[in-house]
Symmetry: C2
């Protein structure tokens, strides 16, 4: 499929979904919409991802099969300055994907246009109605389940999971990605937005995905969310941990992050103690261990990055890497 | 208010909401509906609660102000054999309260009857639309927050919380109950059904209740849910733990329960280790400790019960009681 991705005024640093898609989707990105950078190319801003022209609006987008809202404002609502772009996409009859908290299908104009032009509206954060509580069966599956966990939100769990799946496949392993957030779901084309399911069904939703895919793959890599000690999001993390009943954990952290992002008065624990806490919390449900770590060193130069990875490995008492910068060999070897 | 409580074929042992209301509501229960026990009285089946006649159906119910669905079938749906009773209540123009997973207001006949007779349908498990993520502020509130936690579902957390509030008030303490489940919400007339909120908002919903009530009371007792190591429901428990940022925890357990109810292949951890795990999980967000325990000994004779409480106290390394059987002095003294 040919995609255009909306990222007005936020590309690339505040456009996590857009950059995630550019890096990991198998589809072709033919345009990024950012009125602040119209005329540039993606490659002018981000390395090691698909290149594409940056345009000002839908009228400058070539033929596409899907239009993606690739950013979210604070609060997760729809920004009215995007309306012309979404309207234009629907008038072309192409799919529109959105990871916003507020759903495009609840917008009367978009719903009407989608019906008129037979265009699919895909609100990826809208979970299905038939979710249930977990049966507690993930530990009985034949596939080896590996779940990424971490010290905070946005420490690189989705990225590390994507890198792990790619690297595992390069080694000839049968590896599947289990997406739990909007970017991962858009990359893979399926998945459940775990942070949006009813809290009673958190573990059950993860379990459902694993049961669905366990016969297809030998290894399933589950994208983690949040942190088990996050003051706001720990419920999501805990449900993923116990719902996935993983055989192994990969601990993700960002170099030099000492406080919880957006909750700066809360400190991030020592990573070794934190990793042990994940193990202690998992143990009564299904014993597992942190077998390796991935450190996001994107803000460091190479010398500092290598030192930071070494320190991180020591603190974790496990092999470590920066999955993006140095690859996943340490992690895959540890599995 | 005068209540009638529907509990067909399940009173009393499988009618947790009905029995909870009979024990703790300030309202007057004028009838329990159970076609299997029509003609009996509540007192024939349960001690130490309000007495009321048990009747076969709505036609035998005297004047009431509210009709309560006080049971839930497996799956939480509406049982069609109850339709005549709910219809009859709505035709009288009285409120109908329900804790079912499926909402009465989504039933076309009930919605129409409610409108026609100006009767309120209160689906207590239907959370409001405006919930948000936590701000992380519960630890800053002036009130002392006490949260009940436990080894499993149905170990007596709601009951212990109700008993604690009553006992605290008898001591002259300014104590409020923070309800997180359907029975507690019906008892108190307010609250948020934490297991039904979006998982991202779990901690935020608890925090909202605490913020609302913290100025009114010196002590807030938060009703816990599930267990931090429950294979299906741990997300809910974790959100309540971190959302409430409690000053103290009260650990609730049922004597002789060794496996997770409904998930019998999962063992319940040693209670001392389990209590420490709650503390370790809370610590990076807000340090707290298990100050006391309550053991449900309802299936034991008095000698065995006293021995079990003593053993439980030793395992927990904290004072313990059975809050229903022996009162709450040990717990309140420990606070």
């Amino acid at each position: 499929m040919r995609l255009a991705i909306l990222a007005h005024e936020k590309f690339p640093d505040r456009a996590k979904t857009a950059v995630g898609l550019l890096r990991y989707t198998d589809h072709e990105v033919v345009a990024v919409l950012d009125r602040d950078h119209a005329g540039d190319h993606v490659a002018d801003h981000v390395r090691d991802v698909q290149d594409a022209p940056i345009v000002a609006g839908i009228d400058d987008v070539p033929d596409i099969d899907a239009f993606v809202v690739g950013i979210a404002p604070i609060g997760g609502g729809f920004d009215e300055t995007w309306r012309d772009d979404v309207r234009g996409a629907l008038e072309r009859g192409v799919e529109v994907w959105s990871g916003l908290h507020s759903f495009l299908e609840d917008d009367a104009e978009f719903a009407a246009l989608a019906e008129e032009h037979d265009a699919r509206l895909w609100d990826v954060r809208n979970p299905p109605d038939d979710l249930t509580v977990a049966d507690g069966v993930a530990r009985d599956l034949d596939a080896t389940v590996v779940t990424t966990v971490g010290s905070d939100c946005s420490t690189g769990k989705m990225t590390a999971t994507c890198e792990l799946v790619e690297a595992a496949r390069e080694r000839g392993m049968s590896a599947g990605f289990v997406p739990t957030g909007q970017t991962g779901i858009m990359i893979e084309g399926w998945g459940l937005p775990i942070d949006r399911v009813v809290s009673d069904f958190t573990a059950g939703a993860v379990e459902r995905m694993l049961v669905e895919r366990a016969e297809e793959y030998d290894y399933l890599f589950v994208e983690g969310q949040g942190a088990i000690t996050h003051p706001a999001y720990s419920a999501v993390t805990c449900g993923i941990l116990h719902g996935s009943m993983p055989d192994a954990l990969v601990y993700c952290h960002e170099a030099n992050r000492g406080a919880v992002h957006g909750y700066e008065s809360f400190s991030i624990p020592d990573v070794g103690e934190h990793a042990s806490l994940y193990e202690s919390l998992a143990e009564p449900v299904q014993p597992t261990s942190v077998v390796a770590g991935s450190l996001n060193t994107s803000k460091l130069d190479d010398t500092a990055a290598r030192e930071a990875v070494e320190e991180f490995s020591t603190a974790l008492d496990a092999p470590a890497t920066d999955a993006v910068r140095y690859g996943c060999d340490e992690i895959l070897d540890a599995l």
